[in-house]
C-alpha cells in the first residue's frame, strides 16, 4: 500500500539504495560529453529501465537522474532553461518505476562552481539555484531529497536548507572524501566531523558519504566508523565506489567485484551504517549481491 516513513524504516532496519547511474547510461548508449540528465526528456524509457534494473536487484529506493541538473550545471550543455522539465520528468519516471513500493530520492549535486569568497556566487544566489531544481523534483513527487558528492559544507548546507524550506520530507546529505595523509578530507579540506556538523545544523536528517577519490573498500570501512561517530543521533548513509579505478588496456576498470562489495556491505553495516548504496562502478549486479549480503 503506501510507503513507510523513511526515517521510521531506517530506525528499524538497514536499507539499500541504488548504484551508479552515469555508467549505466553510457552502457545504454549515452555518448561522452552529452548531457545525461537530458535523457530524462528524450530517452525516458532508458532511464526508467535502469531504475527498474536496480529495483529488480532488490534496492529499497531509486535516485533520480538529476545529479547535474541545476541551472549552472545544465548551462554547460546550453540547457539552463530546462531545469524544471528535466528534474520533474526525472522524478516522474523514477516514480513510475518505483510505484508505491519503493522510495524515490531526488538527486541534487554540486552546482559546479565556488561560493564567495573563493568564487563569485553568493549564498542567496546559490539558494535560488538549488530551490529551482528541488521545486521541480518535488513537483514530480520525490519522497526525499539527497544532496550528494559535495565538497564544500557551506554549499551542501545551502542545498539542505533549500530542500527543508520547500518540503517537509527527509533530506539526505553526503560528501565526497579523499585521503589526505592519514586523514579523510573533502577537496575543500573539511573532515567528516565538520562536514556532517554543517549539514546537521542545516536540518539534514540522514548524513554520510558517497563516491570519493582513491579510496579502497578498507578505507570506506574506516570512513564509515568516522561518520557514525560524527553523526550523533542521525542515521548514516554510505555509497561506496566499486573500489578505486585502475586502467587496463585503455579501459577504466573498477576492481571490486559484486562479491567484494557484498563482503564490504556487511562490514559497513557492522560499523553502524543504516543506509547503504553504491556509487561509481557499481551495477545492478553489485547491488543484487549487496542485497543478498544484507539478508
Amino acid at each position: 500500500m503506501s510507503r513507510e516513513n523513511l526515517l521510521e524504516a531506517l530506525a528499524g532496519r538497514v536499507l539499500l539504495c541504488d548504484g551508479a547511474m552515469g555508467t549505466q547510461l553510457i552502457a545504454a548508449g549515452l555518448e561522452v560529453g552529452v548531457c545525461g540528465e537530458g535523457w530524462n526528456l528524450d530517452h525516458a524509457d532508458c532511464v526508467e529501465a535502469i531504475h527498474r534494473r536496480y529495483l529488480d536487484a532488490g534496492c529499497d529506493m531509486v535516485t533520480t537522474n538529476t545529479f547535474q541538473a541545476t541551472r549552472t550545471a545544465l548551462a554547460m550543455h546550453g540547457l539552463d532553461d530546462q531545469v524544471a522539465p528535466i528534474s520533474q520528468a526525472a522524478a516522474e519516471l523514477a516514480r513510475r518505476a518505483a510505484g508505491d513500493a519503493a522510495w524515490v530520492l531526488g538527486d541534487v549535486g554540486p552546482f559546479g562552481g565556488f561560493l564567495e569568497p573563493m568564487g563569485d556566487v553568493t549564498i542567496d544566489q546559490l539558494h535560488d539555484i538549488f530551490t529551482e531544481q528541488i521545486a521541480a523534483l518535488d513537483a514530480g513527487g520525490v519522497d526525499a531529497v539527497i544532496v550528494e558528492t559535495m565538497s564544500d559544507p557551506a554549499e551542501s548546507a545551502t542545498a539542505v536548507r533549500a530542500a527543508k524550506t520547500l518540503a517537509n520530507r527527509p533530506v539526505i546529505a553526503t560528501f565526497a572524501f579523499q585521503k589526505a595523509g592519514d586523514r579523510m578530507l573533502t577537496m575543500m579540506g573539511t573532515d567528516p566531523a565538520a562536514a556532517l556538523a554543517a549539514v546537521l545544523d542545516a536540518g539534514a536528517d540522514i548524513v554520510g558519504a558517497n563516491c570519493g577519490t582513491g579510496l579502497d573498500l578498507d578505507d570506506y570501512v574506516r570512513l564509515a566508523e568516522q561518520l557514525v561517530d560524527a553523526a550523533g543521533s542521525a542515521p548514516v548513509i554510505l555509497q561506496a565506489n566499486a573500489g578505486s579505478p585502475v586502467q587496463r588496456d585503455g579501459q577504466t576498470h573498477f576492481p571490486a567485484t559484486p562479491n567484494d562489495m557484498a563482503r564490504a556491505v556487511r562490514r559497513f553495516r557492522d560499523a553502524g551504517v543504516r543506509l547503504i548504496g553504491g556509487c561509481c562502478g557499481t551495477t545492478p549486479e553489485h547491488l543484487a549481491a549487496m542485497r543478498t549480503a544484507l539478508m
Binding site: 561522452v32 577537496m187 577504466t252
Partner: protein, 209 residues
C-alpha cells in the same frame, strides 16, 4: 617587512584589496618589475607547497589565486610595455567529453602564479583544437585534465594527434582524479601531476630539462 615582502604576505593570506594596493604602491615607486613579479611567484610557490603537504586546501588556494590575479592585472600591462615576456608558455584544457573545470582552473592559476603565460582552451577540447593551439602558441608544456574515468582515454588520442602532427617540442603533462603515473607512462605522456601544487614543480622540471 619591505613592501615586496608585504605583497608576498598579502597574496599568501589571500587579501585581495591589500595585494592590489601594495602592487600600486610598488609600481608608483618605480620598483623593478621583475622583483614585483618575483614577490608574487614566491607567494604562490609557498601556497603550492602547503597545498601538497595538506596544510591548506582548495578554498585557501583559490583565495590566494584571486589576490594574485588582482595584483597581476595591475602588473601585466607594465610588463608588456617594458617588453618583459613570460619565459615559458603553457596550453591547458579539459579533454573532449569532459566538462569539469575546477581542477584545470586551479592548475592554470598556479601556473600563472609561477610566471607562465597560460593559454586556457576551456573544457571539452578536441585533439584537433590542442594541435591547433600547439601550432599557434608553440607552448613549452601542454596540460591535459580529466575528471571522469570515461573521458581519460581521450588523453591518449590527444598525445597521438600531437605526435602525428610532428609537434614534439611541447611536453605533455596530465592530471585529474582518476589519473595515475602508470597511466601517464602507458599513454606516453611526459609527466603526471598529482595535484595543482605539484603541477608547478613538474612543469618547472620539464622546462629545465
Amino acid at each position: 617587512m619591505s613592501e615586496l615582502e608585504q605583497l608576498t604576505e598579502a597574496i599568501r593570506k589571500g587579501d585581495r584589496k591589500q595585494a592590489g594596493q601594495l602592487t600600486e604602491t610598488l609600481l608608483d615607486a618605480e620598483t623593478d618589475l621583475e622583483q614585483v613579479l618575483g614577490a608574487m611567484v614566491t607567494a604562490m610557490d609557498d601556497i603550492g607547497a602547503k597545498f601538497q603537504r595538506n596544510e591548506i586546501f582548495v578554498p585557501e588556494m583559490l583565495i590566494a589565486a584571486r589576490a594574485m590575479s588582482e595584483a597581476m592585472n595591475l602588473l601585466e600591462p607594465r610588463l608588456i610595455a617594458a617588453g618583459i615576456k613570460p619565459k615559458y608558455t603553457a596550453v591547458i584544457g579539459t579533454v573532449q567529453g569532459d566538462l569539469h573545470d575546477i581542477g584545470k582552473n586551479l592548475v592554470a592559476m598556479m601556473w600563472k602564479g609561477a610566471g607562465f603565460k597560460v593559454v586556457d582552451l576551456g573544457t571539452n577540447v578536441t585533439p584537433a583544437k590542442f594541435v591547433e593551439a600547439a601550432r599557434e602558441h608553440t607552448p613549452h608544456v601542454i596540460g591535459l585534465s580529466a575528471l571522469l574515468t570515461t573521458t581519460m582515454p581521450a588523453m591518449k588520442s590527444i598525445i597521438t594527434a600531437l605526435r602525428e602532427a610532428g609537434l614534439n617540442g611541447s611536453k605533455v603533462v596530465i592530471g585529474g582524479a582518476p589519473i595515475t603515473q602508470s597511466y601517464a607512462d602507458e599513454i606516453g605522456a611526459d609527466a603526471y601531476a598529482s595535484d595543482a601544487g605539484s603541477a608547478v614543480d613538474v612543469v618547472r622540471q620539464l622546462v629545465a630539462a
